[in-house]
Subunit: 273 residues, 4 copies
Amino acid sequence: MKRDVTHLKKWQQKIHEVIFGYETTAGKLFDVILLVVILASVMEVMLGSVPQIKQEYLLVLNILEWIFTILFSLEYIARLVSSPNPLKYVFSFMGIIDLLSLIPTYLGLFIDGTHALSVIRSIRLIRVFRILKLTHFMGGAEQLGNALWSSRHKIIVFLGTVLCLVVIIGTMIYTIEGGENGFTSIPKSIYWAIVTITTVGYGDLAPGTWLGQTLASALMIIGYAILAVPTGIVTNEIMRTELSRNSGSCPNCKTKDLPQRSNYCLHCGVKLP
Amino acid sequence: MKRDVTHLKKWQQKIHEVIFGYETTAGKLFDVILLVVILASVMEVMLGSVPQIKQEYLLVLNILEWIFTILFSLEYIARLVSSPNPLKYVFSFMGIIDLLSLIPTYLGLFIDGTHALSVIRSIRLIRVFRILKLTHFMGGAEQLGNALWSSRHKIIVFLGTVLCLVVIIGTMIYTIEGGENGFTSIPKSIYWAIVTITTVGYGDLAPGTWLGQTLASALMIIGYAILAVPTGIVTNEIMRTELSRNSGSCPNCKTKDLPQRSNYCLHCGVKLP
Amino acid sequence: MKRDVTHLKKWQQKIHEVIFGYETTAGKLFDVILLVVILASVMEVMLGSVPQIKQEYLLVLNILEWIFTILFSLEYIARLVSSPNPLKYVFSFMGIIDLLSLIPTYLGLFIDGTHALSVIRSIRLIRVFRILKLTHFMGGAEQLGNALWSSRHKIIVFLGTVLCLVVIIGTMIYTIEGGENGFTSIPKSIYWAIVTITTVGYGDLAPGTWLGQTLASALMIIGYAILAVPTGIVTNEIMRTELSRNSGSCPNCKTKDLPQRSNYCLHCGVKLP
Amino acid sequence: MKRDVTHLKKWQQKIHEVIFGYETTAGKLFDVILLVVILASVMEVMLGSVPQIKQEYLLVLNILEWIFTILFSLEYIARLVSSPNPLKYVFSFMGIIDLLSLIPTYLGLFIDGTHALSVIRSIRLIRVFRILKLTHFMGGAEQLGNALWSSRHKIIVFLGTVLCLVVIIGTMIYTIEGGENGFTSIPKSIYWAIVTITTVGYGDLAPGTWLGQTLASALMIIGYAILAVPTGIVTNEIMRTELSRNSGSCPNCKTKDLPQRSNYCLHCGVKLP
């Protein structure tokens, strides 16, 4: 899937090969270095947030921060210059992430506290998959994505039901428990209901009256039962795509006996898993 | 599935078309406006429960509350008037919910504290599915419902077992821990056992003695194992209905080779998924 | 499956019919009354453990307790007398439970605090399934039991692995955190590891050092991954028994095309689901 | 799979038979005794960490510790001496564990606090499976291992996604909540995000602002949905290996109609389940 770069100048093509390509040694080396730099910059932002470390190594962290930012800025410019279609890159998912991981540092010159947002650059780590050319990893990711996407209707219905339930039960517990046990408002009580139904259970809010505890028990047992639903949905979808991949039929329109190695269903045009 | 409204007067038919129908532009518009008003009224009740907001905007909230209530009252009357069978509407699920979301505000004139119950109107949000005419969403919901319904026997057996277990273990922990660590009564100890077996784990009650902690550990590991059971049941049902939908056989009596697009099994009369 | 009671005297046969049978009106009525009494007695023990209720209604509760105990004692004697094989009943599961739910009250005359153990009689509630003659419920229970039993090897391997993991990680956290954050001994730290890996998370013990929190994070993510294993095992077993029930093959030796409605596999003699 | 021990001397062969073998009575007896001693030594280390027990029984525990260590040292030497290939044993998994469970006690003579590490000997408990010659248990373990190994690509993609999500959300909550509610650094906030997304929910850190609680609610519901993914993956793999075992096809290259009881696929050479 090489992109057409013939309309670019020679030096642009060279940069393109190094930055976007991964066939040449230079291209591979660039990707590995980029990955290490991204990892290091994420670590730097994290460590910079720990008070003790910040106090002692403030200068070092600041210098590192600016080195990383300048490196990423240069990389961004190089990508812009060598891209056959710069606008497409700018508005692509990775292009937006690349830009967003630059802005916080520059913004930090004028506004305080935006610094921590630099961690957005951790999203850039997904470049790792491209580097290792782990096509089978991407296959796994794609299959998972397909499974989730195929079951989107059921998942939305499920989430809608959960949200309704959570609003109703949150209001009930607010009426029952009142402000004494921390249920000071309906939104806060809904937060408690979500904490309970997802079985997280922080315990920062917990019912104190016997009626509240009875309601909470009911909510937990209901949550226990409906916890099974999303699992069932996703398992079903994973097995369905798996089965159809093996049998050469389309998971969408069920057409059977598709020619081997088809990428799209010849009947309904859906992308095959 | 248009209902027979020929025995109604002209003006009733017109209202019916707007309120119950969703083919005409007016009908669609009505549904969208209704949804926005419901959402706004749920938000209003929620915000009204936050002390800071209530103090500052009491008047605004009160006015909004009455506007919403009057609007919903008018809608309720319009539905009654234009329905071909008013009694059927009144005692339908949506009819009861529509009425219940009106009452709390009127009751609030006489009795204090019923106000929060207005959130019951959040159930009205399920009208959203009809508005978007998302038949494939309803298909998803129906399939989920079928899966849960088919496995009701197993789910009841499962819940019965869990309840028995929880009563036994709750009593044991009450005997072991006593009142010092908060296990002041058997019902409260059963509440703790439910919190533990569903893996919610608030931590408002936690065993303090080594014997109690051993029992709790056993309960958690048992819970870990039986957590798998409802998931297995639901997954199995989802896949079963899925398979039979694809193969054209009845999930109830297993009759095969049903005519395509049948809605009911020609052998046992069960509704097909 | 009527038991042979021909060697009993007439009056014994009559009692047997009422107590053990459920075909006659008297038998059904007896079962329903028994169930209500059991439920009432469990409620009485629970309420008796709540300090406020106990203080106010001590006399009433004591009288009720003795009424229930005498009723259950009479029932036990009646079962003994009318049973075709009394010893078999005494040592059957239900027979032991019936006896165990009598003893605590009598013991309470001599020893204090045994009273709460009366809740053991809640196990007697499983008689409910027999009363309602819910054979399809029992089918559900049996299928679940089969699924768990077939996967016992995998579940034991799984639990063994989890226990080893929990001992190792518990010791590590004990070494890392020490007594300051509550990890005062290895057994207590293992208790914490179980609380964490099962995602219960009380929070009565929580790591305070960064190394401890890192280890805890690793444990949680591992727990997240292996939580999937028992679910997979049980789902697989449920579907396997389901499939073989539909296809008429033996889940044990895979013999196919068994005669319909067989109860045992004609090849290996295993009980069919 | 008897190992070739013909090049060993007679007395070495005899020791080998007892220690490594389990066909003879002596070999079985050795294995059972070893298991009991391992169990006892693990119990001793655990009890020794409980302050009250340590104070009272310090001498007994110390004597026991040295008895166990000397027994294990003798066993280790015997294994070395009687092994046909001592180096292979030393660097095998069990060999390393055997050695590691000896070192802490000896180290304890010179350095303080290494004592607790002796619990590493609990890993030695996996010898239990060999003792009971539970080949069907090992079959279960192998099948589980296969299922996890086959889905390693998907599990890595999944864990990568979870880690990215956790870093992003951890940073967001750190920015929103700040130090007042305990979110004093980004690593600590990431720890909170892991505690939340795995539904453990200790409650040692919990959001206090309404924005933080909203973000936490979103994280929990997302976690709820993606909790289903690893379960789906593992269930799928377990069923796939199960199906192919029954149908005699290769889970790797899908070659069908393999000769019964093959251990390796005749086409791609992969080990069959």
